[in-house]
Amino acid sequence: MAHSATSALMANPWNDPEAQPFIRIQGVSKSFGDYVAVNKIDLDIYQGELFSLLGGSGCGKTTLLRMLAGFETPTEGKIFIDGVDMSSIPPYERPVNMMFQSYALFPHMSVEQNVAFGLKQDGVPKKEIAERVAAILDMVQMGKFASRKPHQLSGGQRQRVALARALVKEPKVLLLDEPLGALDKKLREKTQFELVNIQERIGITFIVVTHDQEEAMTMSTRMAVMNQGMIEQVGSPVEVYEYPATRFVGEFIGSANMFEGTVVEEATDHAVVRCPELDADIFINHATNLPPGAPVVAMVRPEKMKAQVEKPESQYNYVRGVVTEIAYLGDMSIYHVRLATGMVVQISQTNLRHTAEQRLTWDDEVYLTWHPGNCVVLAQ
């Protein structure tokens, strides 16, 4: 939703077999003693992407980012940026810059000096430094704070300075480690869009590490969901949400109802899955490419389910239960529906009207149904 119409029209290079990846991560592993932080990762990232590495703490996302920056050396594998092998290139010679989670502003230097630091290291002439620093500070709306010290800035202002400092060198890649982690919720939402706008304006490839799925979904062109040092899935936010590749991804991003079962029918245009938990079989309107008898998990997102009082006419895709919990969130409500087997299914409904008249209430007996296209079958 963050992308303007023009960028949506832009070709997606990752779907183009001819396109050369800008960053190529090949079989990269990193172990600290016995602990494997990153496990044989292969990943291609293209020019101009805003790519997110998403995962819980300890999933290896930060280690991967630090290897891109050059602060950690891969135990195995290679990283190429713009075709150059980074193995022997120290951090201070890499064409990448990083925005740190703690912002890492130099406490003894003013905003201006902080931003000028990188250019000074490159021996850029004084006059040009002054111009570029002023321009970038204007861009992040920090121009009037140029002479302040970091401790005289609020969290949001520090974040902008950190961004300006990393961007002013015009790196080929900008690495952002939890760029919004230290901000409060309101500011975070506002800043997400600003970051995306800046990225689109300057066209630098961004790689963002985050544990916040909303952040990743809002900002990314594509994202990699990581778990235990490995990548579970790479894809656009829509792909990852609607078509998770693994059970972990399905459960990690958004909420999901998971029905364990087996394939009982498999054809080119449909499949049927039988779950012992459910009264009815699940019908899917595409092939699963799994043989009958294969154990699977059928996933249906809560918002894809509809509740109704009458028994549905179809022989597929419904469950019957009793409403046991209601969480009213304002814009929508979440209901827990307990099935006869004891399994609890979650559904969510948008609250379109003020009154609660036609909403569900406790102890309502309901049928939950879903469209055959809204179920994802995952191999177990």
């Binding site: 190429f80 075709g83 022997s88 290139i89 120290p90």
Partner: protein, 331 residues
Amino acid sequence: MNEISTRVSSVAMTTGEQSVPESRRHRARRSLAVARSGRAGRMLVTALPYLWLVLFFLIPFAIVFKISFSESIRAIPPYAPLFEMVDDTFLQIRLNLANYMMLFEDRLYLAAYLNSIKIAAISTLVCLLIGYPMAYGIARSSKAVRNGLLMLIILPFWTSFLIRVYAWIGLLKNEGLINNFLLWLGLIDQPLPMLYTPFAVYVGIVYSYLPFMILPLYATLEKMDMSLLEAAADLGCKPFKAFLTITLPLSLPGIVAGSLLVFIPAVGEFVIPDLLGGPSTLMIGKVLWTDFFNNRDWPLASAVAVAMLVLLVVPIMLFQRYQQRAEEAKR
């Protein structure tokens, strides 16, 4: 050197995927050189303090050990060489165990040795008993006062140790302040002999080393989460019991560190027993001093030093383990 660098960079090139443009190849070579110079810098940074400590700390102990086996002679320096070439053909090693025999045979040394341990141990205990409530009180005082109170503990440390010991002479003398005060109160009718007694040595050691006990104790107590005690109270634990079962165990690292910081140097203390103790207050540090300066028996003094080190090796290693753990905890 140059050869290696070209070889390494050519390896880097052949393992690279496509043919690398000229400019990048150049860059890769430069980076390798940079990485190597980084390693050289690290070596240099390590080598400087390392070599200094080996030369001025490690080797001296080896020399002490060596000289403890030689014979005292009237010469400059006053010890016989351990190794000697005889007729330019034989290397003669004269190992002289007499110094160590002396330590065991002469009752003076054994008594001094044991007495030092006793005095240091008791002083450590007294320091702990005085220091713990003080450290606890400072840690629990309000933030505004805390820094001031802490500063008052550190301040004596910045003034001369020698002069602080000297102050006790004026206080403990027969005609000193304390005796005068007690006489004036009528508690005693003739001066209590305090100076030049073991008591004065205890007072001096406790007084001088008290800050070393309080500071590590304070550091652990200050870090302690007060809500732990509230949780204990909430669960029905009485204050004293809470102190015994929560505060005390949690401050154990501070107790150990403080005790070692007092005990180890106190064992080898010289100034305090010399100024405040009488001739009967034997301590090993004073014995070493006398052997060295008065008797000019360097080998015997060395043997005394070795014996003292043997005693202190375990506490010193304990202290280092604590120190390392404390540093790791900070990271």
